[in-house]
Symmetry: C2
C-alpha cells in the first residue's frame, strides 16, 4: 500500500465524492444518469489509487470544457453501425464515460448472445480509466478489452514529432477467489504527469522516458516537457521501443481509424487546446465458456496468479504483484479508511462547488488520517 502523507491529503468518502461529481455535472447541464456514470468512473480511479484520472479532472477535463462550449453537455449518443457482434457509436462530442459504458454494455449483450463482440465510439472525449470498461465484463464471466486514443504526447520510434497519445490498453479476466486480473497500462513508458513531478522535485528522469524537442534522449524534465514521451521500451529499438510504439499505434488504429474518428496527426496536441470530439474508444468481450467451463477456468486462474505471487523474489523485494492486485487492495483500503484527495484538488473542488452552490465539507469524511 502506497503511503500517503497526512498533511497533503484530505480524506473523503466514495459516496461523498460521487454525489459531488454528480451534482456538479447536473448543474452544468449533464443528464442525471450520465452524471452518475461519470461519477462512478472518476471515483473508481481515486479508489484504485489512480489520482491522475479521478476527481482531479472534474474541472480541468470536463466542467471547463462544458462551460466553454467545447464539450456537449446534452449529447445524442447514437449507434451508427451495428451487426450481431459489432457496434459503432457516435458520441456527438459528449462526455466519454456514459457512451463508453453504453458501448461496453452493448458489446457485453452481444457477446452474451453470440459469444464474442467488439465496439467502438468516435467523436468522443476523455473517458477516464480504460480498466473500468474492461472490468464490466467480469460479472458476466467474460474477458473484457478496452482502449482509447488520447491527446498526443509521444513520439514514434526514431521520430521526434509528437504523434501518439498515451493510448492505454486494458484487459480484464475473471478469477475465483483471487482479485481479477486487470491489466490497464499506457503504451508510453511513463505518463506526462511524471515528467512534471520530476521537474518540481528537480530530479533527473530515467533513460528511456523522453526526448527533447530536437529528438535527443534527455534526462532533464524541463527539456522533456518541450519534447515528447517515448514508447514503452524507450528510445530506439535496443530495449524494445518499437514494441511500445507498435502497441501505441495499434491502439490509435483500433480506436481512431476503425471508428472513423480522428487518428494520428489529426488528434489534438496539448498546446492546441480542447478539440471537440477528437477522441475514440474501442471495446471487446468474449465468453470464457466458449472454451472451458467457467468454474474450471476460474480455479486455474487462481492457481496461475497464486503461483506467480508465490515465486521467488529478487533481493530487496518481498512481493510480486500481478496486474490489478495493487488497485484491488487500494480500493478495499480506501473504502474502509477514506478516499485520499490531494489538498490542492480538494481546494479546487471546494471552489468549483462554491461557484455552483454545491457545498463540499470535510465533515462528511468518515475518517481522518
Amino acid at each position: 500500500m502506497a503511503e500517503v502523507a497526512t498533511s497533503e491529503y484530505v480524506l473523503s468518502t466514495e459516496p461523498q465524492l460521487k454525489e459531488f461529481v454528480h451534482q456538479v455535472l447536473e448543474k452544468v447541464g449533464v443528464d442525471a444518469g450520465e452524471a452518475q456514470t461519470v461519477a462512478e468512473v472518476l471515483v473508481a480511479a481515486d479508489l484504485r489509487g489512480i489520482e491522475s484520472h479521478g476527481v482531479a479532472r472534474l474541472q480541468s477535463y470536463y466542467v471547463s470544457r462544458i462551460r466553454a462550449g467545447k464539450l456537449n453537455a446534452k449529447p445524442k449518443y447514437e449507434i451508427v453501425r451495428e451487426t450481431e457482434t459489432s457496434v459503432l457509436y457516435d458520441a456527438d462530442n459528449g462526455l466519454g464515460h456514459p457512451v463508453g459504458k453504453m458501448a461496453m454494455e452493448k458489446v457485453l449483450e452481444k457477446a452474451g448472445k453470440h459469444g464474442a463482440a467488439f465496439g467502438a465510439v468516435r467523436n468522443s472525449n476523455h473517458y477516464g480509466i480504460a480498466g473500468y470498461y474492461a472490468m464490466l465484463a467480469l460479472p458476466h464471466d467474460m474477458i473484457g478489452l478496452a482502449s482509447t486514443n488520447s491527446v498526443r504526447y509521444g513520439a514514434p520510434t526514431f521520430g521526434k514529432d509528437i504523434m501518439l497519445g498515451t493510448n492505454p490498453l486494458a484487459y480484464a479476466i475473471p478469477t475465483d477467489k483471487e482479485p481479477a486480473f486487470v491489466l490497464d497500462f499506457a503504451t508510453t513508458t511513463v505518463p506526462r504527469g511524471k515528467l512534471e513531478v520530476y521537474q518540481r522535485k528537480e530530479k533527473p528522469l530515467n533513460p528511456g522516458w523522453a526526448i527533447d524537442a530536437e529528438g535527443h534522449p534527455t534526462l532533464a524534465a524541463a527539456d522533456a516537457l518541450k519534447g515528447a514521451l517515448l514508447p514503452l521500451g524507450g528510445f530506439g529499438v535496443d530495449n524494445g521501443g518499437h514494441k511500445g510504439f507498435g502497441l501505441g499505434l495499434l491502439v490509435d488504429i483500433l480506436c481512431g481509424v476503425l471508428s472513423g474518428g480522428s487518428f494520428g496527426n489529426s488528434l489534438p496536441l496539448p498546446s492546441s487546446g480542447p478539440q471537440p470530439g477528437a477522441i475514440s474508444h474501442w471495446f471487446g468481450a468474449f465468453r470464457v465458456d466458449g472454451f472451458r467451463d467457467v468454474a474450471d477456468f476460474k480455479r486455474d486462474m487462481d492457481k496461475e496468479l497464486r503461483d506467480f505471487k508465490a515465486s521467488a523474489k529478487v533481493p530487496g523485494q518481498d512481493r510480486i504483484y500481478v496486474a490489478g492486485e495493487i488497485e484491488f487492495e487500494k480500493t478495499a483500503y480506501n473504502r474502509e479508511h477514506g478516499v485520499p484527495v490531494h489538498h490542492k484538488v480538494w481546494d479546487g473542488l471546494q471552489k468549483l462547488g462554491a461557484e455552483l452552490g454545491i457545498p463540499l465539507t470535510k465533515d462528511l469524511s468518515k475518517h481522518e488520517r
Copy 2:
C-alpha cells in the same frame, strides 16, 4: 535492409526450402498436407528475416522430437469445444503449425459468418511465428490476432524464478496500398538468442535485458544465461517492466489457462528438455466492415501509416518503420535475391538431408550474393 555478409550465408530460394522441409517431414512420418503447412510457416519466417524461427529449427525443434518420440508425427487434431464464435482444439501433441493454421481458418470462417470469433489450441508444440496466423485474416478484410505461450525463459517483475515464456502477441490489420500493419513481438525485452549472440561476441548486455540467477540485474551474458530474461520495460517498475510482465502473463492466460493446457510453472524449462504437448495457442479475428466500409478503412490505414513514416526523424535516423514494414521489404528482397540461410544452418540441413536421402544442393539456388 539489414546487410548479410556473403561468406556467412548460403542463398537458397523459397521453393527449394519449402520443398526440402516438406520432404524431410514426410520422411519422418508427417502427412503431406501438414508437412506443407510447416514448410510454409518456417520459410515465411526466413523470408521475413526472422532466421531464429525459420528452417534453423527444422531439426532441433521438430525432427529431433519426432524421432525421439516426443512429438506425435501423426496427430489427431480434434475440436473439443465449439460455439458459433469460438473453437478449442486439442493438438494431440502434434506439430503446432498445421493445427494453428486450422484453428485460425476456423476462426476466420466463424468471424466471416458472425463478425467476430476466437480460437485456442492446447496440447500443442512450437508453431513458428505468431504473425503468420494473424496475417491469415488480411485477405478476408479482417483484423487478426494470434499468440502462443512457450518454454519458460523470463522472470516476472520483482521475481527471480523463471516463470514465463517469450509469449509473443501478434496483430495484423489490412491496408490498401501500404504493407499491412503486422505487429508481432515477444513480451520479453529481448529473446534468449540475443544473450547467446552477445556472449559469443563478448559484448555487455543493455540494462533491462536480464537478471542473474540471484535476481540481480546483470550486463554479463554468461550470468544472464544462468538467470532469466526481463519483461519488456526491464527490471522493476520504473521503466514499465510491470507492463511487459502483464502482457506476458496475459498471453499465458489466453493461451494456457483458457485452453485448459499447461500454464505458468507447469510449462517446461529449457533445462527440462521437450515435454509433450505443453504449448498452447490463441487466435482471434473480427470483420472491419462491422465498423466501417472496408475501402474507407483501408484508405485511412494508408494515411495513418504514411503520416507516421513521413513525420520528423531524430538526429542520425532517416526512416521511421511501422510494424511489419521491415519484414514486408525483406520478403520482397529475399524472393528476388534469394533467401539467406546461415552456413551452419545450411550444413545442418544438408546433413539431415543426407541421413534421410533428401539431397540439398547449392545448385538449386537461383542467385549468389
